[in-house]
Amino acid sequence: MQQIFCEGAISPVFIAEVIQKYSSDPTIGAYNIFIGQIRADTINQQIVSSIEYTAYKEMAIEKMHAIRSDIFTKYPMIEIEVHHSIGDVAAGEICLFVLVASAHRKAAMEACNEVVERVKSELPIWGKECFAEEGYQWKKNH
């Protein structure tokens, strides 16, 4: 079963390596990539300086496996990669990287959108928004 968790921030170099890995596959015509980055939001006059992610890892991996199966059944996909940070990720750093590769653009875009939606709503992961000064609040997804 695919490992989806990375300790700390995800680097742009890692993202390039993943793209490179598929670049030799001449059946791929389109990649759609989503990257989530930590925003330095201001909440009650406090600035978010980092998010600390925790997860119920075993369940998340099982659930991700089910999502992958659903997406492969629904769309003509060639590959799906999902990488999510665990631990601290500072503002301006990357916490989520989803890549979908397909022969055609439309399938890649729709599938990527659906994977990101499901990763955010169905994977047991929690973000703790840590403030620059002191304190924290638990992140809420809408």
Partner: protein, 77 residues
């Protein structure tokens, strides 16, 4: 009979631990009662319960070495 109970996210602010082991629990309704008695603040939190990593919506009988978890709303990404 041992049941592992895992706590995540803001629930750990109430339990002050990520994990406990309870003994002699028949089912998830009884588990909820015992946890609410131990951590009254849990009543104010929205969460789902999993049994062996599947979300349950009704009372489920617990067997030895079952893994139960309390999951507040997810906020990955």
């Amino acid at each position: 009979m041992n049941v592992s109970v895992l706590f995540f996210g803001q629930i750990t602010d109430i339990t002050h631990c990520s994990h406990t082991v309870l003994t002699d629990i028949a089912d998830t309704d009884q588990l909820d009662e015992r946890l609410h008695a131990a951590y009254p603040m849990l009543k104010q939190i929205k969460y789902v319960v999993t049994v062996d990593r599947k979300i349950i919506r009704e009372n489920v009988v617990l067997l030895d070495n079952t893994e139960v978890a309390l999951l507040p709303p997810f906020s990955g990404g």
